[in-house]
């Protein structure tokens, strides 16, 4: 049960900011960021690493970083372990996507608050759980009929960054 976009009330940005935003968003987001000044300035480079701190270049991610530090997983899983799919290509594609859209949203200040996980990221994360815990959950998973997958985060929403 996630909020449908139709229900989101966000302030529209001016055309100018959008264009400019896209420019920097590309710079920030795409792994191939052409060492633009902006890119360096906003620590865009660090965004390519697995260091959770890089996510918190945006104060908007700060709460999650703070909570993650207190989480049962901080010793064993970083942001990207749960929020990017396994494998080099998909991983950097997702990081680019996060980077792009988050940058766009952030710089235009145009996004729904509180931030909610998107359907796609939710699936990425659900799979991330299995990546590490498939052994543990093997039995309960084998029951899964083709139609509906068991949701881990229905019960374990707080594992990465408890409230």
């Amino acid at each position: 049960m996630k909020t449908k976009p139709s229900e989101r009330s966000v302030k529209p940005p001016t055309r100018l900011t959008v264009i400019l935003a896209i420019a920097v968003a590309l710079a920030l987001g795409s792994a191939a960021g052409i060492g633009a000044y902006t890119f360096g300035y906003a620590k865009g480079a660090s965004y390519l690493g697995d260091n959770p701190a890089s996510c918190a270049n945006c104060h908007i991610m700060q709460d999650h970083l703070d909570a993650w530090v207190k989480s049962t997983h901080h010793a064993v899983a970083t942001c990207n372990d749960c929020h990017t799919p396994a494998g080099f290509i998909p991983k950097y594609f997702t990081k680019a996507e996060h980077g792009f859209f988050h940058s766009l949203a952030f710089t235009t200040d145009r996004f729904y608050e509180p931030i909610q996980i998107s359907e796609r990221s939710r699936r990425v994360t659900e799979n991330a759980c299995r990546k590490c815990h498939e052994d543990v959950v093997h039995d309960i998973e084998t029951l899964k009929p083709s139609d509906s997958q068991l949701s881990c985060i229905r019960c374990h929403a707080g594992v990465g960054h408890p409230k």
């Binding site: 543990v136 084998t142 029951l143």
Partner: protein, 434 residues
């Protein structure tokens, strides 16, 4: 160290369950299933445990076995705990014997030996919810579940009883091949079809259309529901055609002019509500949040390298860390007292409603013997029917209001109103007095 520990677990986990035996649609004996799933089987057998909670669980009461009733242990008697129940049920078998329910392991014996069996001849229908009957139904119907169901409903209890051996078992909730949950109970299959039809969904098939998450509640809804026996063929029916709320169910009974019995002290055509856990849960915030029966009554537990569902079905308050704490990060003691505060409010209101009903029944009795006008008596009797069904809907529901805290109090408040209005209906208009 962590690496090692994970590594070790991987070893254990490599092949989680060995299929030692082949399970088929005819495999009734849970011990056989247990060969493939020893952990679930071990927990399943623990439903013989009896432990009391503040408002639930059950107490092991020793008794000297007799020829008629070989049980050496039973659960405490509810009608001795609260004799007002005898007044509410005067003239009905429940006034003879009604005990606190206990673990699944006892369901077949408790049904077979309850004094309610002596008090009235019961049909085979009863077994629908007290035995592993998926296989017997199929057999009796030569492969056709519904046919077998109809056949057994019409046998006398004693006859039908011979056809079953186990309490609810694996086959009643599971597909023997895929181990997926499946519904084996005609009463629930037809009840859900009627409910959905009422909501405009045509030809709903629970085994085809339900999601896995729904199934985690539906398997319980096979039995933990309000029901009645329809017509001379004693068909088991779940009264859901117009909805699951108490007033919707009562409306259906009124329309069918159905009554469970005639009240011995007042002559009112009254109803007995029975374990509407599924119905009340449906009105609660947990159901609305997608929390299933199994989430609380069969929570996952860690067993070696694996997570499994705890098949020791019981009060979640005996298992708070697994049943509640994954979702609620409060201490056990705090969660326990939250549940008990909710139950306590419901219990107090239930007592007010019970007093009101008993006083009302007293008044109605005197009024009748005092020869009050027919119309007046009839009006009062209808109030009794309402008051009693509403009260019993919460009284017979086994969570003491926890499954839907606010709705439970709503129902009890209305019950009080019905009882008191019934009493007033027996009095002359004020002013006219003296």
């Amino acid at each position: 160290i962590l690496l090692v520990s994970i590594f070790e677990r991987k070893q254990e986990a490599r092949n989680p369950f060995f299929r030692v035996v082949e399970l088929t649609a005819e495999t009734e004996d849970p011990a056989v299933w247990g060969k493939n799933f020893p952990m679930q089987y071990d927990d399943y057998r623990r439903t013989v445990d009896q432990q009391r909670t503040r408002y639930g669980g059950s107490e092991a009461e020793p008794r000297t076995p007799s020829k008629a009733d070989p049980r050496s242990v039973v659960a405490q008697s509810r009608i001795e705990e609260d004799p007002r129940l005898k007044t509410m049920w005067a003239g009905y078998a429940f006034a003879k014997d009604f005990r606190e329910e206990r673990g699944h392991a006892f369901m077949l014996d408790d049904q077979t030996y309850t004094e309610r069996q002596q008090a009235a001849k019961q049909p085979g229908t009863c077994l629908h919810c007290h035995a592993s009957i998926a296989v017997p139904y199929k057999k009796a119907g030569d492969g056709d579940l519904i046919k077998g169901f109809e056949k057994l409903n019409q046998l006398p209890f004693a006859e039908a009883r011979k056809l079953v051996t186990h309490p609810v078992a694996c086959i009643d909730c599971h597909d023997p091949v895929t181990m997926q949950l499946q519904i084996s109970r005609p009463g629930f299959i037809e009840g859900m079809r009627a409910l959905k039809a009422g909501e405009g969904v045509k030809d709903y098939d629970v085994n085809r259309d339900a999601t896995r998450q729904e199934m985690r509640s539906f398997v319980c809804g096979q039995c933990h529901v309000e029901y009645y026996f329809k017509g001379p063929e004693k068909r088991l029916v779940y009264p859901w055609a117009s909805g699951l709320k108490v007033e919707q169910i009562l409306a259906l009974y009124d329309a069918a002019q159905f009554k469970d019995w005639t009240h011995a002290e007042t002559g009112a055509p009254v109803l007995k509500a029975q374990h509407p856990e599924f119905e009340l849960w449906n009105q609660g915030i947990h159901a609305r949040s997608g929390v299933a029966c199994a989430d609380c009554h069969m929570p996952y537990k860690r067993s070696g390298a694996l997570k499994i569902s705890d098949h020791h079905v019981r009060s979640p308050l005996l298992n708070i860390n697994h049943a509640c704490q994954t979702c609620h990060k409060w201490p056990e003691s705090e969660l326990k007292s939250r549940a008990e505060e909710i139950q306590g409010r419901a219990q107090n209101m239930r007592n007010l409603a019970m007093d009101a009903l008993v006083e009302f029944i007293g008044d109605l009795k005197t009024a009748r013997t005092g020869g009050a006008p027919e119309a007046q008596i009839a009006t009062a009797q209808d109030f009794q029917r309402k008051a009693q069904f509403y009260l019993d809907f919460v009284e017979a529901e086994n969570s003491s209001g926890f499954h839907a805290p606010q709705e439970a109090l709503r129902i009890l408040g209305e019950s009080i109103n019905f009882s008191r209005k019934g009493q007033l209906a027996l009095k002359p208009a004020t002013g006219a007095a003296k």
